[in-house]
Symmetry: C2
Subunit: 305 residues, 2 copies
């Protein structure tokens, strides 16, 4: 099968690179093929970006008109392919203008999405602004809060198509760090998941969110003294972190119209925790929102170039 896309969509994070061959324009554009690699932005110097992308998409390119490649994520950071400066909030994600990146290969025209920044409290995002733009394009007139679970979970207040403010939590990175590098690694590594332990940990952390560092050591002690299963310890670790996050993010979800954008592994525990608080949540797929957002950006470069 030969894939000859109309344009190429790219989600380029710190640790991962994913590209889709897109057929069609605007919100009806569909991915015809998908490829990925571990050439994350964090592993590349500036000269490495173009070769890393070509390794994935070379077979999609021909001698016809150059194909636009629409990129979002950490690839637009200062250490990325080209710096796409942050737009300050309040900002309209659908109005963000992609930045042209230098590209030696004449078969490609490369554009990178800007991220968003908030001056006080200081905060930044790269990649999520594109998913929010896609979500709002697919849900016109939607107002409320969008939570984007991940390594650095974002909570964004959206009104009239604008991101008004947002807040980032490092809970996902803490979960990964503690499971891989801390004394807890002996207690949480393994298979399985304990739903009840997760729910109890969320409830406990919501009630007394200040005790995180003590709860963490308690996971180790419960293993040493009571032989706690790894599936239970890992679910409790996640529950302690997400419960503390929900306690701090309460203004973002209490009585708000709430949407979750994320893959099941990241968003599932948030959905479970919020459901237990009686909060109804709209679940959506992260990749689909990324493609919708990049499709909007692709329409924009057709208009402006």
């Amino acid at each position: 099968m030969t894939v000859t896309p109309d344009w190429i969509a790219v989600d380029w994070g710190t640790t991962h690179l994913r590209a889709w061959a897109m057929a069609g324009q605007g919100l009806t554009a569909k991915p015809a093929a998908q490829v990925e690699s571990n050439d994350g932005m964090g592993t590349l110097d500036r000269a490495g970006f173009e070769p890393a992308l070509l390794r994935l998409v070379d077979g999609w390119l021909d001698t016809g008109a150059p194909r636009p490649a629409m990129l979002c994520g950490m690839v637009g950071a200062r250490q990325g392919w080209v710096e796409a400066p942050y737009a300050p909030v309040p900002a309209t994600p659908a109005a963000l203008v992609p930045v042209r990146a230098p590209c030696a290969d004449a078969r490609l025209r490369v554009f990178v999405m800007p991220g968003l920044k908030q001056d006080q409290p200081a905060d930044v995002m790269r990649g999520e602004e594109t998913q929010i733009a896609g979500f709002l394009a697919l849900n016109p007139g939607w107002d409320g809060v969008i939570c984007l679970p991940g390594t650095h979970t974002k909570w964004a207040q959206v009104s009239a198509g604008e991101v008004v403010s947002f807040q980032t939590f490092m809970s996902g990175e803490l979960f990964a760090l503690l499971g891989a590098h801390s004394v807890l690694r002996h207690s949480v590594q393994g298979e399985g998941w304990d739903d009840d332990a997760f729910a109890a940990a969320v409830t406990d952390a919501l009630a007394r969110p200040e005790g995180l560092a003590a709860r963490l050591f308690g996971l180790r002690a419960d293993d040493l003294l009571h032989g706690q299963a790894a599936a239970t310890a890992r679910a409790r670790l996640s529950g302690h972190l997400i419960g503390a996050e929900l306690a701090a993010a309460r203004p973002y979800w209490l009585g708000q119209n709430l949407a979750l954008i994320g893959a099941d592994a990241a968003a599932g525990p948030y959905a479970q925790a919020l459901a237990a608080q009686g909060v109804p949540v709209t679940r959506t797929d992260a990749a689909r929102m990324t493609l919708a957002g990049l499709s909007l950006a692709h329409d924009k470069i057709k208009e402006t170039t």
Copy 2:
């Protein structure tokens, strides 16, 4: 100079091994020499402990009577030289009975201190019980709370010579992990320290302790957006963690008679944070307390063997 100790004191943690040549008995015993290595308990299998100790102290041993070596710390864990089972609280640290460890070298008789455990909430300590025993021996009749800052900071409620209850916080390990392995490593690594930033972060975290995971990402964003100095970011990271810990540990220090046992690097920030809350603190040296505690244990094995 030839050192021929009466007995040998050993503090053997997960990452570090330290031994003192002791002259004299009981609380008047004094260290005549000190040696150390990186042969922590975490790097050794069971057969490795005796050789690791002999590498340090071989020169102190002669053909006279075998010398007692009194060991405390993780060396008494299940994966240590010999398991010295935890004593359950309430427990009197001065009454703990050292466990004899097998030793092929006839010049040594090796004894390992037991740790303490608490069933609910599950908690454990190994090493701090010896420092507490030493502190209480040097401060007879002392009642109150002892805080032992470190990788896993302990808060112990002490009454009538007993540890009644205790709680462990992983704040120290979180500080080390986040500075070395998280996205914050780009923002906190460097020299210097910012006292005012530390104090402000402690105050902020004490007032709203639930927001830790968001404050952490804010350190990165303040670097990206406002060029925050590494000395400021590192002091704020410490302040956020210790402030959250103080919020959770409030029952342990509010209106209590409080002693801090720890080296300056670990205990200094706690002392500063507590002073800012108007809490008077007795500071003591960790190594001195360890030696006093091991001296008590040494007296005990003379009685019983």
